[in-house]
């Protein structure tokens, strides 16, 4: 009797262990509280939705996906500690964080452990440090700015451009790439204006833009400053078309700038308003599950999990060491893996190439005007 019980217990233990071993473990470290709570919560919910969908269809290579979520409190120091803890549990892939600052301090840890990290940061420098384990879910500036420059040159037909940027890492990074690209395409930068973060008065800057009389103005500031300069541009009667990034045509900017935001155009890498059926489907499923419409961070989290699925199925095995090598140079087509939503290609640095969207503010609302194709 005693021996039967012992054998039974052993068998149970073995079965449980093997079932546990079969699950593919992912670790997520995200901004679940603090200033980035909106970013992190969207990212987490996107991940959970994707895992639920994948597991409902039998998992990846017959194995279920499991994820643990840890809170970075939107603090790079905490993010580093949480990532170290997550890596100690030897996950298959690390997901997050969403803030570039947190990614910057955690990426060396994941690289040292040889674990691929799929994150939400967008600062240009993240993928330029030679880290072979870091992957983006959205455009970095080196991918988005060439598209912006191409649009200004080809579609806006601007021969002269005024570039207004905020004097910090974000602004300088974007300005450097866009200026280089504009010059390469043959559009002349006639005014190169640096502004300060938190600047309240843009009268002099707009005066300089007026004096330069450009065919188009590229605005690359934080959201509040974007709203202030939009108002000043309108106040001083600047009629040249305005082009920017998400920070120029975001909902908060539209709310702050009011009428002055109308007509501003911006390049957006990911938006749930995109005229793409698969994205509309994602938006509906997400809204149904969480009772709110996700922002682009929800899309990023969702895509991160499908990147894991597609790469693993490409390898035909669950091998965390070979994961990063396989994802470099990989193109994932939405026809083959609908969860990836749009065709995407990863380069040797972990940067992505994907179609994106040109959004214009019309009567206080974002309207997708054009789909910009992949660069290559």
């Amino acid at each position: 009797m005693k021996s039967t019980l012992l054998v039974g217990a052993l068998l149970t233990a073995i079965t449980t262990t093997s079932a546990f071993a079969q699950a593919i473990k992912l670790a997520d470290v995200a901004e679940l509280s603090g200033g980035g709570a909106t970013v992190g919560t969207n990212w987490k919910n996107g991940i959970d939705l994707a895992i639920e969908e994948i597991n409902a269809k039998g998992g990846v290579l017959g194995r279920k996906l499991e994820v643990t979520h840890a809170d970075s409190q939107s603090n790079p120091g905490v993010a580093r500690a949480q990532v170290q803890k997550a890596l100690d549990a030897e996950p298959y892939v690390l997901l997050g964080p969403g803030y570039s600052g947190s990614v910057k301090v955690t990426a060396p840890l994941a690289a040292e452990a040889g674990i691929a990290q799929i994150m939400g940061g967008e600062a240009a420098e993240l993928t330029q440090a030679g880290n072979k384990f870091l992957f983006r879910t959205s455009f970095g500036q080196q991918s988005s700015m060439p598209k912006v420059a191409k649009y200004i040159h080809d579609d806006m037909k601007a021969k002269s451009v005024a570039v207004v940027w905020v004097n910090n890492d974000f602004g300088r990074g974007g300005r450097d790439v866009v200026t280089k690209e504009l010059e390469r395409l043959g559009s002349k930068v006639v005014a190169d204006l640096s502004t300060e973060a938190g600047q309240a008065d843009f009268a002099a800057d707009v005066g300089k833009i007026k004096a330069a009389n450009p065919d188009a103005v590229f605005v690359y500031l934080n959201e509040e400053e974007s709203a202030r300069i939009l108002k000043e541009l309108k106040r001083q009667g600047v009629t040249a078309p305005l082009m920017g990034e998400t920070t120029l045509i975001g909902q908060k900017v539209i709310e702050l700038a009011g009428d002055a935001a109308n007509g501003a155009r911006g390049h957006v890498g990911l938006t749930t308003d995109a005229p793409v059926d698969l994205i509309k489907g994602f938006r509906d499923r997400f809204s149904k599950k969480y009772n709110y419409v996700p922002d682009h961070n929800g899309l990023k989290g969702y895509l991160a999990v499908y990147m894991v699925k597609a790469t693993t199925e490409k390898m035909g095995k669950v091998d965390s060491k070979a994961f990063a090598d396989t994802l470099h140079g990989l193109t994932i087509k939405a026809t083959e893996e609908p969860g990836i939503l749009m065709d995407v290609t990863f380069d040797g640095n972990g940067d992505i190439d994907r179609q994106s969207f040109l959004v214009e503010v019309v009567e206080g609302k974002q309207v997708v005007k054009q789909v910009l194709p992949k660069l290559k």
Partner: protein, 291 residues
């Protein structure tokens, strides 16, 4: 040339707002030796009071009236009775430090009750241009300039042409003698606090549509107005007006012709030069102190 004209108009419009705030500095100093380091926050707060009134459903015009009245109660009456009067007996320095603490308190309270993010604020002047001397000038700049000039003109008329103004001046110049000849000095001092509150509320109404309503927006304004008051002359209303306009224009010209990064440094350098070569300010009166 068109650019210079634009810069001058924009600079004068901003400078006129600085002047309103700087006049408040001089009024409080003249009548009660109060250096109010919360003056910038005094400009930030009325916009939020108006937004709060609008939030409960009041139209903009009513929000303006109630906002100004609330400002006069909080930033005039309550400021004088709850902070200035009790601290005054300890001297100028403790009072100045108390106003610094008040500035932090107001900022943090606004951040707590509203949000750390900026909010839009409607403009009393419509957008659009009018042509002056062949140049297109924005209606908003003209409107701001006109309202500020009107307010300053009204104030100087009150001070120089009415009996009330003469009593206020008497109370400021020599309170002891003023008391002997029957001037209600305490009431005159309270009146200057109320006038200061009215001026900052007006400045708030004019500047917030441009700067947006944000808890930290008073920092820049307070500093600029303080510099303007010293440059013009801390003990002269007309000095504060001249200083405000001068700093506004200088700031804009520096941003355009020197560099955006160093725009804040230019008024500071000017301030140092004024302190070195004309410490009483451009239009100020030298005051002698004896021990």
């Amino acid at each position: 040339m068109s650019n210079l004209f634009d810069l001058l108009v924009a600079g004068l419009a901003t400078g006129a707002i600085y002047a309103l705030v700087a006049v408040g500095f001089t009024l409080l100093w003249q009548t009660s030796q109060t250096i109010n380091f919360a003056q910038g926050e005094f400009v930030m707060l009325p916009a939020f009071l108006m937004l709060a009134v609008m939030h409960v459903g009041a139209p903009f015009w009513l929000a303006i009236i109630l906002g100004i009245l609330l400002s006069m109660i909080l930033l005039g009456l309550a400021f004088k009775m709850l902070l200035v009067d009790p601290m005054m007996r300890h001297g100028v320095l403790p009072l100045a430090i108390a106003t610094m603490a008040l500035a932090i308190g107001i900022k943090e309270a606004v951040k707590q009750f509203f949000s750390a993010e900026a909010s839009p604020f409607p403009s009393i002047v419509p957008t659009g241009d009018i042509s002056i001397l062949g140049y297109a000038v924005s209606l908003q700049s003209i409107g701001v300039l006109a309202v500020a000039i009107l307010a300053v003109f009204g104030l100087t008329t009150l001070l120089n042409r009415t009996s009330l103004g003469h009593q206020m001046q008497a109370a400021a110049q020599n309170p002891t003698v003023a008391r002997i000849i029957g001037v209600p000095v305490e009431r005159m001092i309270l009146l200057t606090f109320l006038i200061n509150a009215f001026l900052v509320a007006l400045a708030s109404l004019l500047i917030t549509p441009i700067y947006l309503a944000k808890f930290s927006s008073g920092e820049v304004l307070g500093q600029a107005a303080f510099i303007a008051a010293i440059v013009g002359g801390f003990n002269q209303v007309r000095g504060a007006i001249a200083g405000g306009l001068l700093i506004g224009v200088l700031d804009n010209l520096a941003a355009a012709y020197v560099s955006t990064q160093y725009r804040a440094a230019v008024p500071m350098i000017f301030l140092i030069a004024v302190i070195l070569f004309r410490p009483q300010g451009l239009l100020g009166r030298a005051e002698e102190r004896t021990v």
